[in-house]
Structures are given as C-alpha cells and as structure tokens.
C-alpha cells in the first residue's frame, strides 16, 4: 500500500503509542489470567470456558464493571466473597482478562 511518507511517520508514532498501551493491557490481562487460573477456574472453567453450570463470565458487558466488583468482593449465592484476599489491582487485572475474552 502506498502512503505519503509524512503520514506514515505519523501513523507510526501513533501505533507506537497505541502499542505501548496495548502492551500494558496485555500484561494486565496476563496477570488477570494467572489470578483467574488460581482462584476462579475451578468453578468458572479453564480459559473461561464453561459447560453452562456456573455463571459464564464472558457474558459480562463493559457496563457491568460495578456489578463485577460487587459480586467478586461480596460473593453471591455459592460464589465465595474475595474481599481481603484480592487487591483492587487484582480485580482490575481479572476484569481486563475477562473483557479481553468477552462475547461483546
């Protein structure tokens, strides 16, 4: 594809910036995956894949962030509370991981 040299440079800078942010997101998602594997996979399924037995976390939408935090901290039904066990940054990492694999 042909590109005007200056535009290419600009695009380049933009994507570098974007790449930096994406890398941060990726690291957070990877940290979230690790926390998920250790604490959540036994009930919600490996790699978030679930036979419909427990709540499917891939169903969570962008606007569900407060609900997510509330349920994770306080528990719900047979979902145990994680207050005092998971830090705010852990919950953020989990959220990033789940959103990166969400249905929509």
């Amino acid at each position: 594809m042909f590109q005007h040299p200056r535009a290419a440079l600009f695009l380049c800078a933009l994507s570098l910036f974007a790449a930096g942010e994406a890398l941060g997101q990726q690291q957070t998602a990877a940290a979230g995956e690790n926390i998920y594997d250790m604490n959540c996979a036994q009930c919600h399924g490996e790699k978030l894949a679930n036979a419909g037995i427990t709540f499917d976390l891939k169903r969570l939408k962008a606007a569900d962030r407060p609900r997510f935090e509330n349920s994770v901290l306080n528990g719900k039904g047979q979902m145990p509370p994680w207050r005092g066990v998971l830090k705010e940054s852990d919950i953020e990492a989990l959220w990033t991981y789940i959103r990166a694999n969400a249905n929509e």
Binding site: Q42, G45, A51, P80
Partner: protein, 560 residues
C-alpha cells in the same frame, strides 16, 4: 519396595481403651461385615467392606432391564453437584450433599427428615474440585458424615437429631476441607481430608463411633526428623499435600484399613526434589490406633497431580496356581495396582489407559520406570503427558465382578501439555500450582472399560465423547450401571458392554448407583446433579448446556 512396618509418623493419642462400649455395637458391627450379603441394605460406602460395588440381586437382569421405570425422584433443593453414594437401611435411603443430610422412604420417595448445614461463605474459596460431599456411614442407629468445615457429625438415623459432633483440628483458612464419606471399621470412624491444592499436610483421623471422641491422627507426610522426611528438601514437607479425600476399604480379618494418599503440593515439583513420601501412596492402618502396617508409593516426586486417592477394591484372585488376597487401585497415574493385602507388595502393575510418563513398573526397586517425559518435566521443559492431571480415571469408584474377575472402570483418555517453569513456594491456604497445563483432548475422551486386573487389558470398552465421572456398579443380573455427565443413567451388559437401557435424568450424573430390595422388589437408586472438577473446569461448552439441580432417583421393574 516401600513397605514399612514402623514408619515413625505421629499418632496423637489412643483413648479407645477407655470407652468401654465394645459389647453395645457388636450386632451392628456384624451387620457391617455382612453388608454385601444382605441385599436389603447398603450400609457402607462401596457396598460392603471390600468396596466391590457388586450386588447378588438379579430380579433386574439383562433379559428384562428394558422394563426398568422410575419409581420416584426426590429434590435435594440445590444447584451443586450430587456426588454422594446413598445408603439404605430398613427401607430408608440416606443421602448427603455439601449442606444437606436427608432420609427418604425408599419405596415412596417421601422425605422423612432433612437437616441443613451452614458454613462460612468464604470457605468455598478453598474447595478446589466441586462443592460436594461424597456420602455417609451407618453405625448402630447413627448416620455419620463429614462437613466442608471439618466437622464429623453423627445423627440419629430415625429422627436426624444430633447424637454427637466432633471438630477436627484442621482449619479451612489453611486449605483443609472434608468431602469424604467416612468409613466405620472396628468401632472407629475413619475420615480423610482434602486440600493438597492449597498446601495442606494431609492426614487420616479416627473417632470413636459411639461417642465421637477423637482417637488418633496419622499424618501422611512425615514431620522433620521422622523417617521419610529426608525425601523433602527444606520446609517443603510442611505444606506437602498428601490429601485423603476418597474413602478406602477395610479387611476385618487383617484388621486393616486401606486408603489412597493423594498428590504432593505444589503441583510444580521443582522445589521439592525427592520421593515426597508418602504422597501418591496406598497406606494400610490399624483402625483402632492408626498404626501403619505398610505403605506402597505409586508415583514418587509426582509433577502431574496424579492424585492417587482412587478407590481400593479388595478381591481374592487366582494367579500362578494360588488364590491371592489383593487390594486393587486404578490410579490416576494410569497404572492398575494389584497389591497383596497383608504386605502391600505389588503383584501386578499394568497400564489401563495410554501412559507415557513411565514405561512400566520396576518390581525389584518397587518404583515406576520414568520415561524422558518425566525427566524433562522435572527439569522444567514443556512436555505432552498421558494421562493428564485429570488422570486415567478420577475419584469415581470402580466396581468388581468376582465371578468374571473384571473391573468396570470409567476411564479418561486425555493428555496435557505441561510445564513447570520456575520452582514455587507454597503458603498454606493459598493455591499451590506453579505449572501451566493445556488439555489434549481426543474425540472420545471417556471409555467405560471392563478390565482384567492382572493385565490391565480391556475385555470390552465403550467410548464416550466426554468422560463419565460417575461410579460404576455391577449385579449378578449381568448388568453394569453408570451415568453420563449429560444425564443418561445407563445399564450395560456386563459380558460385552452393550447398552441395554437408559433413562434421561434432569442433570448430569456424578454419583454412585446402588441396588437393594424390599418386600421382594429390587430397586436401583442414583443421584443426578452435575458438578465436580471435570464438569466445572474442563468439560467446556462441548458438553452442552447441562441443567443444574440435584435430585435422587429410584427405579424398579414395571409392574413390580
């Protein structure tokens, strides 16, 4: 060979002599001994002390099983897995789950009594493998069970009222939880514990069956300085795992209880170089004192979570011109162990599924022969291993037909991609993994196999897309009963595996079928209610949307 008569593990106390209740339970202890012969009742986990899950009943047989119909169903009022084996006494069925104990009229399905249990919601953080309970024990008019928060409860079987309650000195915040069905042997309630995924130090405990008095604790992992502790570097033994979450069996003649000890913690082996005694071993103890008669280790220094708690089935097997008294285990590591019951010495060790982590058993050294796969896995390299961490089979008990000398085993053909990148440290009560795993799933993951104990070879094998995580039971009517995660309760011809009958229950089957009779009618009872580690963790969407909700079902022949 790792058979040892005096491994100096710590027995905490033995107060049994002071209890003086021996004459009172004589009759009922005799009933327990007679359990497999008395077809009216099922008094023990395993349908008799040998845990063969074989019944002499044959009113329902391969000729008429197509006429089997549901008599009733009973709701457990719960969404978690129904993994327990029911018991039957005097026509009353006893059933447990994680938070309920119930007695139900076996003929009508009407509830007689029900008790609810409460525990702290945060406890469920340390339940690795399903919010479940595996069953109860009956003794002298009492129904005895364990709880997730490590209590042992005895209820009046008639009314459900508490007779005694004991609290094990085991803290769930440190990863300990009890899901096991207790075993009453020689007047002692024996219980095990779960939690090797959270860095526990496993044990067996004995309680007086009449009073609930604590008698002894036998750790499965030696303390510093004790024999066997040299197989653990540094402080790694303190959180070394070795849980005991599946019920063993009892030989009253030898007065020995056999029990499977599970995986070492963490799964990652690189910080615990050594044999890690007595993880992944079969242990024989005296029920009155917990004194160890022998220990045989199946998988030293296990990297794979080949958590060998599997059921221990006793039989008398003819081999080399003599009849041997054996105890058998289809281990998660993929080998079928046939051991002499008196000494623990292996008579036959053969694979019953595809195995690549070891090429066989070295009878002279008494240990597996590791392949490159295990040597590389120990060194931190990425390998493909068979069987996977879900095992060649898992906790669901096998059954044995003494007339055909066959074991009926629900097996698992999955492998895994595995790596233990860096050594990890364990904190008691925190998840103890430190490995990456990825399932390798063939088209047919599960097979129900009829296996010759001495060779491990299958006489017949029936494939399933998903593994069956239910126990098997067989009858003199020529039938094998088991169930699928998608809910089908099945009767197959024990001679060839042909499917003769099935019934769609409302949820997945992960419990263990039983059969019994009353007033000349044979009944078959099984729980339906999906859950457990395979269904929750790895089955994934291809299992389909199996509805949750646990119910207990009883069947009989149409017109009976």
């Amino acid at each position: 060979m790792r058979s040892n008569n005096h491994i100096g593990l710590l027995a905490l106390a033995s107060f049994f002599a002071a209890c003086g209740s021996a004459p009172a339970f004589a009759q009922s202890a005799a009933d327990l001994l007679n359990d497999p012969k008395n077809t009216q009742s099922v008094l023990t986990y395993g349908m008799g002390y040998k845990a063969q899950r074989h019944s002499a009943l044959k009113q329902i047989n391969r000729g008429n099983v197509k006429n089997l119909v549901a008599a009733w169903a009973y709701s457990m009022t719960d969404q978690t897995g129904l993994e327990a084996q029911p018991l039957v006494h005097d026509g009353i069925i006893y059933i447990t789950n994680h938070n309920r104990t119930a007695a139900v009229d076996g003929v009508t399905g009407k509830e007689i009594w029900r008790n609810n249990l409460d525990y702290a919601p945060e406890l469920l953080r340390i339940v690795c493998c399903g919010i479940v309970n595996r069953g109860s024990a009956l003794f002298n008019g009492k129904l005895i069970r364990t709880t997730l928060d490590n209590r042992i409860l005895a209820m009046d079987a008639k009314t459900g009222k508490e007779v005694w309650s004991a609290k094990s000195d085991a803290d769930y915040t440190k990863g300990y939880s009890m899901t096991v069905a207790p075993l009453v042997a020689n007047g002692v309630v024996i219980t095990g514990v779960a939690g090797a995924e959270f860095g526990i130090r496993g044990f067996l405990e004995g309680y007086d069956a009449e009073t609930g008095k604590f008698l002894w604790r036998r750790y499965t992992i030696p303390a510093k300085g004790e024999k066997g502790s040299e197989t653990w570097p540094g402080d790694s033994a303190e959180t070394g795992g070795g849980s005991t979450w599946v019920t063993g069996s009892y030989d009253p003649d030898l007065d020995l209880v056999f029990w499977g000890i599970g995986n070492p913690a963490p799964w990652n082996p690189r910080g615990r170089k050594g044999d890690n005694l007595y993880t992944n071993s079969i242990i024989a103890v005296k029920p009155k004192t917990g004194e160890v008669a022998w220990v045989t280790q199946a998988s030293p220094e296990d990297p794979y979570d080949h958590d060998g708690v599997n059921s221990l089935v006793q039989a008398e097997i003819k081999t080399g011109g003599e009849t041997r008294k054996v105890v058998m285990q289809a281990h998660r590591n993929g080998f079928l162990y046939v051991l002499d019951r008196a000494t623990g010495k292996p008579i036959a060790v053969n694979p019953f599924v595809e195995v690549n982590w070891a090429s066989g058993w070295d009878y002279a050294k008494g240990r597996p022969i590791w392949t490159d796969v295990t040597i590389k896995a120990q060194a931190g390299e990425k390998v493909n291993v068979f069987p996977s961490n879900y095992g060649g089979t898992n906790w669901f008990p096998m059954s044995y037909d003494p007339s055909a000398n066959l074991l009926f085993i629900n097996t698992n053909a999955m492998g895994m991609e595995y790596q233990a990148p860096e050594p990890v440290k364990v904190v008691a009560g925190q998840p103890a993994f430190g490995v990456t795993t990825k399932p390798i799933a063939p088209e047919f993951r599960g097979h129900l196999k009829a296996v010759d104990p001495m060779t491990g070879k299958a006489k017949w094998s029936v494939p399933f897309k998903h593994i069956n995580t239910a126990g098997t039971m067989n009858t003199a009517g020529g039938l094998v009963f088991t169930g699928q995660l998608s809910g089908e309760f099945m009767a197959l011809d024990a001679a060839n595996g042909k499917l003769l009958w099935q019934f769609q229950t409302p949820s997945g089957i992960i419990s263990q079928p039983i059969t019994w009779e009353k007033n000349g009618v044979q009944y078959v009872t099984v729980g339906s209610g999906i859950g457990g580690v395979y269904a929750m963790r790895v089955a994934g969407p291809s299992l389909g949307n199996v509805p949750t909700g646990s119910t207990l079902w009883t069947f009989k022949l149409h017109g009976k």
